[in-house]
Amino acid sequence: MSVDWLIPALLTIVTAATPLVFAAVGEVVVEKAGVLNLGVEGMMIIGAIAAFATAVSTGSEVLAIAAGAGAGVLIALIFGVLTVYLQSNQVATGLALTIFGLGLSALIGHSYVGKTFGGLAKLDIPGLSDIPVLGPVLFGHDALVYLSVVSVAVVAWVLTRTRTGLLIRAVGENHDAAHSIGYSVTLIRMGAILFGGAMAGIGGAYLSVAYTPLWVENMTAGRGWIALALVVFASWKPWRAFFGAYLFGGITIIQLYAQGMGVEVSAQFLSMLPYIATILVLVIISRDSARARLDAPACLGKNFHASG
C-alpha cells in the first residue's frame, strides 16, 4: 500500500470524525446531567447554516464558528426551557427540535445555496508539518480539529476530576438527592443543555465551513443521530466517544475509497455503511442489558419538578 494513498485517507478520517466528536462530546455532558436531547441533528444543522451565513457575509472564520456555537445555544435554549421548566417530554421535544431546525435552516439557507467560501485555513506549523507522513497527519489540520481534541480532554477532566463534574453527574444519577442537599437541578441541567447546544453548533459549523465548505439543505445527513448513537456506544465516556467518532470516520473512508480501488458496488450501498454500522454497534453495545443500564445515568430522560 503506497503512502500517497494513505495520507489523504487519514486526513479524510479526521475531517469526517471531527463534527461527530463535537456533537457527541457535547451530548455526553447533556446526558450525564440526566437530559436526553434527541435534537442534536437540529442543533447541528442550525449551527451549520449560521456559521456558513456568517462566513459568507463577514469572511471571518472565528466569527463563523462563534455564530455556529451561538446558534446552537439559542436553539438548545428552546429545548431547555421546554423540558426543564415546562416539563415537556424529552423525546418529543428533541424530535421537535430536529424538525424545527431542519425547516428553519432550509428557510435561512434558501438564499445561500450555491454560494462558496474559501474554507477553514489549515494551521501549518513550520517544520513539524513537513515531516513525512506524520507531519500532514498530525500537524496539518485546521484549528477546529485541535479544538475538538482539547474539548474532549477538558470535558473528560471536568466530568471526572472537578466539583462541577460531580454536580453534573449527581443531577443525572439522582436529581431528588441533588435537590435535597441544596443544588439547583434546573440550573445545572440548563447549563449542560446549553453546552451541548454550543458543541453541536460547532460540529455543524465544521461541516459547512471546513468539511464541504458550502451550504446544502439537510447537509448533516443523520450525523446528529450518529452522534447520539456514539454516546451510547461510548458508555457516556468522552474519550470513548472520541474514538468512536474516528471509527465512523474510518467507515466513511471505506465508502470513498472502495470505488477508487475498483470495488463493483453501487454508490448507494456504500453510502449505507455508516448507518448500518451504527445499528451493528448499537446491537453489540446494548446486548448486555444489565451493563447498559449500569452505564446509563439513572435519571436519563426523567423530568424534575421540585414540588412533585
Partner: protein
C-alpha cells in the same frame, strides 16, 4: 412576581383538548411575526397559507390527498407512542412499503387485473412491516434503542429507493431520468372525484382510523398498550407481555406507514420517483402528538398538517416564499403544543408557594 408551576392533584382532562388549540393560535401569531420580519404582509401571508389552498374543489381534494398518508401513519405511530415505543423511522417504512407495492406494479406492468391494486396494497403493508420488524427484533432480542435503529433504517431505505430508480428499476425508455415506468391503469387507485387526484386511499385512511379507535378504546390490546405506557411495572405484574406489545406496535405502525407509501405511489404519483414523500413519516410524529395520540384526534391533526404543506406550496407560488416555511411551521407547532401541554399536569400560579391543600389531603 414570577409565575410558578403548581402540580395539579389530577391531570386536567379539558386541557388535553384545549392545549392543541392554544398551540395553533400561538403558532399562527408567531408565524405572522416571522412573516413581518421577512418583509411580507402577515395577514396576506396567513391568507395565502391557510385559506387560499382550500378555497376550491381542487384544493380541498389535494388537502385530502396529502392528509391521507399523514393520518394513516399518525394512527399507527400513536399506538406505539402510547406504549412508549418510539418508532421514528416511519419515513423509511413508507419508502420500503411503496417499493414493495410499486415493484409489484412494475413486475405486472403489461397485465390487466383487478387483483393488482389489492395485491399492491398488501405488499405495501408487508414491506412497511418488514422494515419495522428490524427495530422490533433488535429491541426485543438485543435491547437496542428503537429510536436510533428505526431512524438509521430510514436513511438506508431512502438509499435503497435511490439505487432502484437509478439502476434496475429505471424506465428503459425514460431518457435516463431516474424514474420508473408509468404504472399501468390497473395499478392505479380508483379516483373518487373525476378530474382530481382524490382516490380511495382517503377512504382507506378513514377505515384505519376506525380500526385504530376500536383497537385502542375497545380492545384488550389497546388497554395493555395504555397501561404499559403509563405504568410499566403494573403492566408486568398484570402479566402483559411487553415484548409482544413492542412487536405489535412496531408492526402496526410500520404496516400503516407502508400502506401510506403505496397509496401515495399508486394514488397520487403513478410511478416510482426518487422522492416519494416530502417527509410525511416525520410530520406524522407531530400529527400523532397534536392528535393527542388518539385516532380521531389524529384525523383532525392530519388535515391541519396537510394544510401546512399546501400552504407552503401556495406561499411559494404566489408570494415567492421558500417552501421550507412549512417545516418551520410544523416544528413551531410541536414546540408550542409541548409547551402548552404543561397545563395538563400543572397550573400557573403567581406569588409565593403555599401549602397545597388539595394534595395534602
Amino acid at each position: 412576581m414570577l409565575p410558578r408551576l403548581e402540580q395539579r392533584p389530577e391531570a386536567s382532562r379539558s386541557m388535553v383538548y384545549v392545549s392543541p388549540l392554544i398551540a395553533v393560535v400561538f403558532t399562527v401569531l408567531t408565524a405572522m411575526v416571522m412573516f413581518a420580519l421577512l418583509g411580507v404582509d402577515p395577514v396576506r401571508a396567513i391568507e395565502t397559507f391557510f385559506i387560499e389552498p382550500v378555497s376550491s374543489l381542487d384544493g380541498l381534494s389535494e388537502l385530502l390527498v396529502k392528509a391521507t398518508p399523514l393520518v394513516l401513519i399518525g394512527v399507527g405511530l400513536s399506538l406505539g407512542f402510547q406504549a412508549n415505543v418510539w418508532n421514528i423511522g416511519a419515513e423509511g417504512q413508507l419508502v420500503i412499503g411503496a417499493l414493495a407495492g410499486g415493484g409489484l406494479a412494475l413486475a405486472f406492468f403489461d397485465q390487466q387485473s383487478v387483483f393488482l391494486v389489492p395485491a399492491m396494497l398488501a405488499c405495501g403493508v408487508l414491506g412497511g412491516m418488514v422494515w419495522a420488524a428490524i427495530p422490533a427484533f433488535l429491541k426485543t432480542r438485543y435491547n437496542t434503542n428503537e429510536i436510533l435503529t428505526s431512524l438509521m433504517l430510514t436513511y438506508v431505505g431512502l438509499l435503497v429507493l435511490s439505487y432502484l430508480v437509478h439502476g434496475p428499476w429505471k424506465d428503459p425508455q425514460g431518457m435516463n431520468f431516474p424514474e420508473s415506468r408509468l404504472f399501468h391503469d390497473s395499478a392505479l387507485l380508483p379516483v373518487l372525484i373525476e378530474g382530481t387526484r382524490l382516490n380511495i386511499g382517503a377512504l382507506i385512511a378513514l377505515f384505519v382510523v376506525v380500526l385504530g379507535w376500536i383497537l385502542i378504546s375497545r380492545h384488550i390490546i389497546g388497554f395493555q398498550i395504555k397501561v404499559i405506557g403509563m405504568a410499566p411495572m403494573a403492566a408486568s405484574f398484570a402479566g402483559f407481555k411487553e415484548k409482544r406489545l413492542i412487536w405489535l406496535t412496531l408492526l402496526i405502525s410500520g404496516g400503516c406507514a407502508g400502506l401510506a407509501g403505496v397509496i401515495e405511489l399508486s394514488g397520487a404519483i403513478g410511478q416510482i420517483v426518487p422522492s416519494i414523500s416530502p417527509g410525511y413519516g416525520f410530520t406524522a410524529i407531530i400529527v400523532a402528538f397534536l392528535g393527542r395520540l388518539h385516532p380521531v384526534g389524529v384525523l383532525f391533526a392530519g388535515l391541519l398538517m396537510a394544510l401546512t404543506y399546501l400552504g407552503g406550496d401556495s406561499a411559494q407560488i404566489t408570494m415567492n416564499l421558500p417552501n421550507a416555511v412549512t417545516g418551520v411551521f410544523q416544528g413551531m407547532l410541536l414546540f408550542f403544543l409541548l409547551a402548552s401541554d404543561v397545563l395538563i399536569k400543572y397550573r400557573v400560579r403567581f406569588g409565593a408557594p403555599k401549602i397545597n391543600v388539595e394534595t395534602a389531603e
